[in-house]
C-alpha cells in the first residue's frame, strides 16, 4: 500500500477545511470497510484520509419533528439497536443486519455504503423506499439531494470535491405503514446481492388498501433505482397478490442488469419480480402489525 496522511477532525468546519486544504486528494474515511480494501488493492490512492468518525454532526442518530436523522458515520450496529428505527424504519434495520457480519457491522456506516455508490449496496434500496434525503455540506454551503438521485454510476455520485455527506434524513412514518428489505444471494450469509429490493408501504385504516408505496432496487442497473411507477400504480389498490404482481412487472421493465459472475441478466430480471412481490407482502404484513419472521438467505 502507498503512504498517505491521516487526519481526525472533531467538527464539520474543521473537516471541510481539511478537505479543502488537500484539494481533491483527500478521501473521507468512515468505517473503512470499503475504502481500506480498495486502497490495499490499489484502486484508490488518496494522499490523505479524513477520518469522519469523531465529528458530532455525522454521528447523530435521533428523531425530531422533521423525522429521523442518521449521521453519515453512524455504524450499522447502532442503527439496529435504535428503538424508533426498529419500530418504524424496519427496512433500514433489515439492511444493516445483513451488511457483512458482526465485526463489519461494528464499523460499517450507511453513509459509507451510500458514498461508495456500489450498485449492489444493501442499504440504498431501503433509503430510497423510506424517502431518504442526503444532507451534503461543502465549501459552497449545504444542499439536499434525494437518495435516488445521489448515485450516478458504479462508484460514482453527485459529491463534488471538498463535499461531505453529513446525514441522511427521513420523513416521519405515517400510521399503518411498514417496510422491508431483502436480497437474493447464492449463499445464506456473507455475500453480495444478486438482486436487492426494499419497499415501504402505507395502508389505509382498514389495512386492506394501499395508500402509497415506494420501491427501491439494487444490483440491477449501474446505480440503485427508484421503481417509481411500480410504487405509484399500487396507490389506491387492494394490498393483494394481483397488485403485487403488477408492481413486479413494472419493476422488471425498468431494470437493465448485466451478466456477470453473480448472475445472468435474465436471472436478475426474473428475480427482481420475485423479490418485489415477496418484499411487498412482508411490508404489508408489517404495516398490519402481523407477526412476520424472516431468516436472511431463505
Amino acid at each position: 500500500m502507498h503512504d498517505f496522511d491521516y487526519e481526525r477532525p472533531v467538527s464539520l468546519v474543521e473537516a471541510l477545511s481539511l478537505m479543502a486544504r488537500h484539494n481533491g486528494h483527500a478521501r473521507p474515511l468512515a468505517g473503512g470497510t470499503d475504502l481500506i480494501d480498495q486502497m490495499r488493492l490499489g484502486r484508490h490512492q488518496p494522499g490523505a484520509l479524513i477520518d469522519v468518525k469523531r465529528i458530532a454532526e455525522l454521528n447523530v442518530l435521533a428523531a425530531d419533528a422533521d423525522g429521523l436523522h442518521v449521521g453519515a458515520a453512524v455504524p450499522c450496529c447502532r442503527i439496529v439497536e435504535q428503538p424508533l428505527v426498529n419500530q418504524q424504519y424496519t427496512a433500514l434495520v433489515d439492511s444493516c443486519r445483513i451488511i457483512g457480519g458482526i465485526q463489519i457491522q461494528s464499523r460499517a456506516s450507511v453513509g459509507g455504503n451510500l458514498c461508495n455508490s456500489g450498485p449492489a449496496a444493501d442499504s440504498t434500496p431501503s433509503l430510497i423506499a423510506l424517502q431518504g434525503v442526503c444532507v451534503i455540506a461543502g465549501p459552497a454551503g449545504t444542499r439536499r439531494v434525494p437518495v435516488e438521485r445521489f448515485c450516478t454510476g458504479p462508484g460514482q455520485n453527485v459529491l463534488q470535491p471538498g463535499e461531505l455527506l453529513v446525514e441522511i434524513c427521513f420523513p416521519p412514518r405515517p400510521p399503518h405503514s411498514g417496510s422491508h428489505y431483502r436480497r437474493l444471494i447464492p449463499r445464506n450469509e456473507m455475500d453480495i446481492a444478486v438482486v436487492g429490493v426494499g419497499a415501504a408501504v402505507e395502508l389505509d385504516e382498514s389495512g386492506r388498501t394501499i395508500r402509497a408505496a415506494r420501491i427501491g432496487l439494487g444490483a440491477v442497473a449501474p446505480t440503485p433505482l427508484w421503481a417509481e411507477e411500480a410504487g405509484a400504480l399500487l396507490a389506491g389498490q387492494p394490498a393483494d397478490d394481483v397488485q403485487f404482481a403488477r408492481a413486479a412487472e413494472a419493476a422488471r421493465k425498468i431494470v437493465s442488469p448485466i451478466t456477470d459472475m453473480r448472475g445472468t441478466r435474465e436471472y436478475r430480471i426474473h428475480v427482481t419480480g420475485v423479490l418485489v412481490q415477496r418484499v411487498l407482502r412482508a411490508a404489508v404484513a408489517r404495516a398490519r402489525g402481523e407477526a412476520f419472521t424472516y431468516l436472511p438467505g431463505h
Partner: protein
Amino acid sequence: MATADKRPYKVIGTRPVRHDGADKVTGRAKYGGDMRLTGMLYGAMVRSPHAHARIVSIDTSQAEALPGVRAVVTSADMPAQGDRVVELGEGAANMRHLTANILARDKVLYRGHAVAAVAADNVHIAEQAARLVRVEYEVLQPVMNVLDAMRDDAPILNDDVRTESLGAAPQSPDQSRPTNIAKHFLFEKGDVAKGFAEADLVIEHEFDTAMVHQGYIEPHNATALWNTDGRITIWMSTQGSFTARQQTAELLRVPVSSVKVVPMEIGGGFGGKISVYLPPVAALLSRKTGRPVKLQMSRADVFEATGPTPGSHMRLKLGVTRDGRITAGEAWIAFDAGAYPGSPVGMACMCVFACYDVPHGRVEGFDVCVNKPRTNAYRAPGSTHVAFAIETIVDEICEKLGLDPLEFRLKNASREGTRRVDGPVFPRIGMVETVQAIRDSQHYQSPLAGPCRGRGVASGFWFNVGMKSSVTATVNLDGTVSLIEGSTDIGGTRTSIAMQLAETLGIAAEDVNPTVVDTDSIGYTDVTGGSRVTFATGIAAVEAARDIQRQMVQRAALLWDVDPAAVKYDDGRLLGPAGKQFTFKELAAEIHQTGGPIIGSGTSSSATQGGAFGTHCVDVEVDPETGKVQILRYTIAQDAGTAIHPSYVEGQMQGGVVQGIGWALNEEYWYDDRGTMRNATYLDYRLPTCYDVPMIETMIVEVPDPQHPYGVRGVGEVPICPPPAAIANAIYHAVGVRMRRLPMSPPNLLSEILQRFQD
C-alpha cells in the same frame, strides 16, 4: 458399526486431545507467514495479465533502479531443463513444462502466469517494483473450453505436445503437428456391444462441470536462504516436504541433498500444496542477494496461479436389465489439464464405474490443455466429476424402473473379487456396508414432507495409496516416547500416528510426543495425500514400536539375567520368568544403566490400500422461483476400515461433504471472454459458510483393511465424491429437474426449472 462391538483396542478408537491443539488454539503454531529472519527481504511476483500471449521482451531496468530493490529474476535465471522427465514422488513430470510454470519462458499460458520476481527491503517497495517491470506481450487467442481446445483449428498452447495414447490406438497418426490433447486413455472390459444388447433400458447423457479450487485458507508461501556454502533452506507450507525438496532441487538443478525443506504448519492443502510454485524463485532471489527472501501469494494469486481441479465434459451411457442389473457401461471423459498436461483424467477413467460390477465396459479419457492454471490434485482427483455423472444416471434408471436406489446399489455393488473396467480386482472392500448403513439409517427411514423438498442418495469410490513413510521414536527416561515423523499434519495425523505407536507399545496416547521435522531429520516420507498418512505412516509407527519392543525385551532380559526369548512384551508390560515384571515406565527408567538410548525406527513402502467407499443421503429444499437450494439434512456413511481417532474420521467426512456441497451448488472459475477469472476472491468464489450447511451426520462403517496391522483405511478423500450427485438427485426429487451441469447455482437451476415449465 460393523465391528464396533468386538474392538480389542485400548487407545485406538478413543478420542484423546490432539497433541498440537494448545499451539493451534492459542495462535502459537508457526505458519509460513510467521517466518521472520534477520536481514530477510520481501518478494513480489510479476504476473501475466493475459490468458495467452507471447513474451516479446522483459525490461527490468526501472524496477532495479527503485531504491530498496535488491534483485529481480526472470526465467533467464532458471537453469535450462531440456527434455527431461523426472519422477517427483507423485507421478512423473516434464521438467520443461514444470520450469515454464514457475517462471514463463517464451509464452504465458494463463492469466496470473508468473513472469518475473522482485526482492526488496519491504513488501510495499517490492510490489511497486513489480509494477515497474515492463513486459511486452503479443496477445494470442485464448482457448478456455475443453471441447474447443480439442478441435483441429484450436489455438495451440504448447508446441511440444503430441498425443500420447495409453491403451488406445493413436487417434491421430500424425505426430508431426502439435496438439492440445496430451493424453488419450482407453480401458476396455468384456464386449460392450453385447452388454448393451442385453440391456432393457439404456440411459445416456452429457455432463459438464466447472473448474473449482481446493479453497484452503492459507495462501502459498516460501522463505528461502541460499547460503554461501551452496546449501539451500526453504521454510514453507507444503503437503510433502520431500517432494518439495526434490522439485526445488530438480528445478534449480542442484543435488537433492543440498536442499533442506522445513515444513511449517499448514492451513489446508487438499492436494493443492504438493506442487511447488514459490520456493525456486525465493531461492534464486536469495542467491542473488545473499539474504533470506520471503514470498507470499495473495488470494487472487492462489486462484489464478496454483493448481485447481479441472473442468470437464463427459458423456456417459449405462445399460440395465428390467430387474435392475447393470449389463454395460461406456464413458467418454475430457478434462481441462490447464496450461500444461497432467489432469487426473486417467484416475477419473478408473473411478467412473468402480462402485459397480460392470460386466462390459469401455472408458475413454482425454487430457487437454487450455488457457487456465495448470491443474493439480484435489481430494480424490477426478472421482467427484465422474461420480456426478454415473450416480445421477443410476438415479434416473431407478426412477424409470421403479427400483429403490439403495437396493439397486446393493444388487450391483462392487465386492471382494469384482474386476474394475480398468483391470484390477478388488480385495475386501466396504461398498455394500456403506449402502446398508444408509438404508438402515434413521435419516433414510424417516419421511420427508413439504413442497419442493427432495431426497437424494449417491455413492463414491477412491483408491487411497500406500507409498513411503519413515518414523523414528525415542524412549525417554520418564517412560514417554518422542515420535519423529515426516508427514506434515493436515488433518490431525500427529495424533492418529501417535495413537498407533501407543497402542502397539501399550502406553497412553498422551505419553507419546509427536513432532513433524524437516527433510534432514527423518527418512524419506511421501506426501500427505492419497489418504495415506494414517495408513502408511501408521504402519511405519507400528514398526518403530515393534523395534522398541524388541530392544526393551533385551534390556529386561539383561536386568533379569535371562534369555531374551524368556521375556514377553505384553500390553505395556515386560513379563519374565517366575513372575518377574516391569511396566514400560519402570524399565524406561533403567535404560541408561542397561546400554543407553533406545531408538526405534520403522518404514513403510510396499503396502497398498484396498480402497475406500462412501454412500450419502441428502434432503434439500428448492426455491422454485429463484433456483436457490437449501440443504436440510445430510448423512454420510463411510468405510474407515478401523477408525483410529473417530473425531478426526468424522471431521474428514464432514469436511469432504462441505467441499462437495460447495462444488455442487456454487463454486466455479468464472471466466470472461478474455480468459480472465472474474471471481478470484472469496466474496465471489462462493465456498459454503457455516450458514449454508447443516450439521453433517456421520456413520463410520468399519470393514478393516487386511493390508494394515490395525485395519486402517484412508478417509480423507472419498467423502467429497458423492455430494454433487446426491444433491442433484435430491433436486430432481424436489422439483423434477435433472441437473447435468455443475455448479447447480441459482441461475443455472432456475433456467432449467423455467425451461421445464415452458415445455
